[in-house]
């Protein structure tokens, strides 16, 4: 046959052969072409073109069929070989799997949260079309003033962009008819609420429009959790009756186990069944705002359309009801996607953590890449010999890739275990940020993510291996070339170390800033003394206490009884308390007021301050200092002169240098005037990181509103808490105690989100530090091993162990210094993103930088010291003989 140019048939066949593994092709390819050429010639000669075509077809089918089997056999061979090698180097394998596993683990763990909270659609029918409506009084600094019944009607009737509008509010009611009074969180919703969210009841039915009509029989839908725990999952619960608010309520349905938005509730009732919502006081008053409103966009409407549409209605209302929407309040309405509404708090934090986790993975990769390089240096002989006996470069590369892939998959397994183990912790953390925390779990996407992480790391290692095999193996046996290659490899290894240091530094700075910020936060003087004080939140059965006198009387009896308990130093009732988890991050109960002698037109923005009702001992119990004047007295009765105590910041803001004592304010446009009798210290009411609000205190006798009892004890609050609980139930057994916490706990809880963030960041940074430092140590140890002869010669020429120690440590320190310099630049560039999360710490906080640099440097020094000491103890005679 002619050698000159391959025919088309030859080329076609050669293309077909590309389906086979590289090895197979290089081993038999030529021979196969030869054989096939003979076959072709014979078929054409003897049997014509049909036979030729048939033979082509048979050949194609045959190769397509056998190729996968051949690939599989190579793969299984490689796998077996890789596993054998990994067993031989168990220490290396374990180190690599654990380091990579941690890297993949933290990423998978954070990703499982990002996936469920930010990526997955809401668990509702077309959840992306659900919107939250919100009314604002921008000039009063109120982003969410809720809706009144009349406003809901107006928006429902007049809008053109929403196919449905549903209302919601949540209250706590007493459920009777069992052994004890049961307080249930009750979601009060319009009849179309569940339909709008696309929630189908598990048992029974959803609410019907009839249920909303005034006077309709009271019905209830139970949440899945409540049905399971309180009704033991009774399948016949539909039709069962409960007594609530002095009415009989019939269960008509049970919800499926879905996350409930906006709050978790035990039961749901239609608006007609809520005594507050259905009262004439609510329905008839445009300013009685209590409800949240949700809507579903019409198919063709966008959020922008909706916003424009609602704004037109708002302007109309402003025009029609100038008394309700004064110029001074800055009335407006907004609509935002429910989805972003539910997750916007969590988003920056989660993305930040994902970024931090990615850094850990990068460091882990750099570290394992170094391990691989070190090991390949040791396997050099083996690889060289295998090349020499004819294993193609492609074959070796494939082998190395298989090893990396197995390593990475094992690490992904470790990572998934890690993620599964940390799921509870993550859920707890994220629940402080978003109601979607309950949805967090490990699903196919998370698995895929872990595998992708593993895949990415394999590519990294594979290219390392490729780099190595391409440049070195061919020349592996030549000593001179080998030395040059050794130098290049050391350079790569050094670069990898410097990179690890740089990444760790950035992470450590981030963590350092977070921790420092948290320490600042924890040190904040909140303006009250939380030690040995506890708060009990209770709910009276309100249907029995409707008049202020009734509330006053029960309050008197309660307080008296509690004060008599042994161990109680002082006790007070109040309408709320500092850092109450329910008002954290809000503006609490805020009230506009007017100062006597300062006239104000409607167009002006009225002053606002937070309001609290309290009994006389409130200030003593919480340790809030009196600045001037007096606090409340027994003589401040309902009939006496109406009085108020104000906070220092309020006094300062409204009266400046003047003395506020004896001045009067009004909360009802001048109908009643209240005299200021005292000024007390500022209290960080709504969060340690927030400014203390301007605060009014009113005596409970004059403003009957209670819900909490605060108790300062002489000793262990836990013991006294029990007595107090009993005392409350003695006064009225139908009272429900909904919370019992020491104020120290309350204070700690108020910063649990920054604390967890600081901890997670700290954990990541510690991991990074440990990985990087061990990386430095093992790299130097290897370098010492490679330089035994050189060190021996130096010692023979008179170098002292001290000199040798210096040489090795200098090598380590140089790498760390380079890494630190790069890391410093990176940290200054990147930590800006932390700014919003930091409290009284700037992203370039000098002490943090100094401390972190010292820490990293110290750790690196320690890591260099161990191999350096080893080097210093080398016996020169032995070292020279060795070679």
């Amino acid at each position: 046959m002619s050698e000159s140019r391959p025919s088309i048939a030859d080329r076609l066949y050669r293309a077909l052969l590309r389906l086979l593994p590289f090895d197979f092709r290089s081993e038999f390819g030529d021979d196969m072409e030869e054989t096939f050429r003979d076959q072709r010639a014979h078929a054409r000669r003897a049997r014509g073109s049909v036979a030729l075509l048939r033979m082509w077809w048979a050949t194609i089918v045959d190769i397509v069929r056998m190729a996968p089997r051949e690939h599989l056999s190579v793969l299984s061979q490689d796998t077996r070989y890789a596993l054998r090698m990994m067993r031989h180097n168990l220490g290396y394998t374990l180190a690599a799997v654990v380091i990579l596993g941690l890297g993949i683990g933290v990423n998978t763990s954070i990703f499982s949260v990002v996936n469920s909270v930010l990526l997955q659609p809401l668990p509702y029918a077309q959840g992306d079309r659900l919107v939250v409506l919100r009314q604002q009084a921008t000039k009063l600094n109120a982003d969410d003033v809720r809706f009144s019944v009349q406003e809901i009607d107006d928006y429902r009737r007049q809008n053109r962009t929403l196919s449905e509008v549903a209302e919601y509010h949540s209250m706590t009611f007493t459920l009777l008819g069992r052994n004890d009074a049961h307080r249930v969180r009750t979601g009060v919703v319009s009849a179309g609420f569940f339909d709008m969210f696309g929630v189908k009841p598990l048992l029974g039915r959803a609410f019907r429009p009839d249920d909303d009509k005034p006077g309709a029989p009271a019905v209830l839908i139970l949440s899945y959790e409540f049905w399971k725990t309180s009704e033991a999952g009774d399948p016949h619960v539909v039709g069962k009756t409960f007594e609530m608010n002095d009415r009989v309520h019939t269960v008509v349905g049970v919800l499926p186990p879905i996350p409930q938005y906006p709050n978790e509730n035990d039961v749901y009732m239609p608006v007609s069944a809520c005594p507050f919502r259905s009262s004439q006081r609510m329905i008839g008053n445009r300013d009685a705002r209590m409800m949240s409103v949700f809507g579903r966009l019409k198919p063709e409407a966008t959020l922008e359309h909706c916003h424009a549409d609602l704004s037109v209605i708002a302007r109309r209302l402003e025009h029609d009801y100038p008394k309700s929407y004064t110029k001074g309040m800055g009335y407006g309405i907004s609509s935002s996607a429910l989805r972003s509404e539910l997750t916007h708090h969590a988003q920056p934090m989660l993305l930040l953590l994902l970024g931090a986790a990615a850094f850990v993975l990068l460091i882990a990769c750099a570290n394992v890449a170094n391990l691989i390089l070190a090991r390949m240096a040791r396997r050099e002989r083996e690889l060289t010999i295998r090349t020499a006996v004819g294993a193609g470069a492609g074959r070796l590369l494939r082998q190395l890739l298989t090893e990396s892939l197995i390593l990475a998959l094992l690490a992904a397994g470790v990572g998934l275990l890690f993620a599964a183990g940390s799921l509870r912790l993550m859920t707890e953390f994220v629940s402080q940020l978003t109601p979607r925390a309950r949805e967090i779990g490990i699903d196919g996407w998370v698995l895929l993510f872990a595998v992708l992480c593993a895949g990415a790391t394999t590519v990294v290692f594979g290219s390392m291996a490729a780099l190595y095999s391409r440049t070195d193996l061919a020349h592996g046996l030549k000593a001179g070339v080998q030395r040059a290659a050794e130098g290049r490899r050391n350079l790569v290894r050094s670069a990898l170390i410097a990179a690890q240091v740089a990444f760790s530094y950035v992470l450590l700075i981030g963590a350092g800033l977070m921790v420092r910020s948290f320490i600042q936060l924890a040190r904040v003087d909140a303006g009250f003394v939380p030690q040995r004080v506890f708060a009990v939140s209770f709910d009276l059965n309100w249907s029995r206490y409707t008049k202020p006198e009734q509330i006053r009387s029960v309050a008197d009896r309660l307080l008296e009884k509690v004060q008599l308990q042994p161990g109680v130093l002082s006790a007070a009732l109040s309408s709320s308390f500092p850092l109450d988890p329910d008002t954290l991050g809000t503006n609490g109960w805020s009230q506009t007021f007017q100062i006597e002698g300062i006239p104000r037109s409607d167009a002006e923005t009225p002053p606002v301050a937070a309001m609290r009702a309290a009994t006389p001992d409130y200030f003593r119990t919480l340790g809030i200092p009196l600045v001037s004047g007096r606090t409340f007295r027994e003589s401040d009765t309902a009939e006496a002169l109406p009085v108020a105590v104000i906070s220092r910041s309020l006094a300062h803001r409204r009266w400046g240098a003047l003395d506020p004592l004896g001045r009067r304010v009004s909360f009802d446009n001048g109908e009643h005037w209240i005299t200021i009798v005292g000024v007390v210290g500022d209290v960080k009411e709504f969060g340690l990181a927030r400014e203390a609000p301007d605060q009014f205190y009113r005596p409970m006798t004059q403003l009957a509103s209670l819900g909490y009892i605060l108790v300062r004890t002489a000793s262990d609050p836990a013991r006294v808490a029990n007595q107090v609980r009993r005392a409350i139930l003695d006064i009225d057994p139908q009272t429900a105690i909904t919370m019992e916490k020491t104020l120290e706990e309350v204070r700690a809880d108020s910063v649990s989100s920054p604390r967890t963030t600081a901890r997670l960041f700290g954990l990541f940074a510690t991991l990074a530090l440990v990985i990087a430092v061990t990386g430095i140590g093992s790299m130097l140890a290897l370098s010492v091993r490679q330089r035994v002869r050189e060190i021996g010669i130096r010692m023979a020429l008179g170098a002292t162990p001290r000199d040798i120690l210096g040489i090795v440590i200098r090598q380590g320190v140089a790498l760390v210094a380079i890494g630190l310099a790069i890391g410093l630049a990176g940290a200054v560039a990147l930590t800006g993103v932390l700014k919003a999360l930091l409290f009284e710490v700037t992203p370039t906080d000098l002490p943090t930088y100094v401390l972190v640099s010292a820490l990293l440097f110290g750790a690196a020094l320690l890591a260099s010291y161990l191999p350096a000491r080893r080097a210093a103890h080398i016996d020169p005679q032995h070292a020279l003989r060795c070679e």
């Binding site: 021979d31 196969m32 030869e34 054989t35 014979h42 048979a58 190769i63 056998m66 190729a67």
Partner: protein, 116 residues
């Protein structure tokens, strides 16, 4: 090296038989198998070389370094030879088949078949 991966397939047996009466190159093996089975077993190059690869790995055949002197022979063409191991395996397989056949005969399988 004899790490036999499972039983000998009929196709492998045929290849061993083809090499029993002398060294052959790939196409010669194909032709031999086709002729001796009256065209019933038609191997294609893919399967043939997968078999050759396995037989080489198992040590049942070897590549011949001293090639027969044939005029106009292409230098790239490779010749294969049955090894002692290969011959033994082929004989073993033939015996096994012989026994099987004898059993079928003793059960009067063929007569029963004819009568039916």
């Amino acid at each position: 090296m004899s790490n036999s991966q499972g039983a000998l397939t009929p196709a492998m047996f045929n290849v061993l038989l083809a090499l029993a009466d002398g060294d052959k190159h790939g196409y010669a093996i194909l032709k031999d198998v086709a002729e001796h089975t009256s065209g019933e077993v038609q191997l294609s190059t893919g399967t043939l070389y997968a078999i050759i690869k396995r037989l080489l790995e198992d040590g049942f055949i070897v590549e011949v370094t001293s090639r027969p002197a044939i005029p106009n022979d292409d230098q790239r063409r490779r010749y294969y030879r049955l090894t002692g191991d290969g011959r033994a395996v082929a004989i073993e397989e033939a015996r096994r088949m012989e026994k099987l056949l004898a059993r079928a005969r003793s059960k009067r399988l063929f007569q029963a078949f004819k009568r039916a």
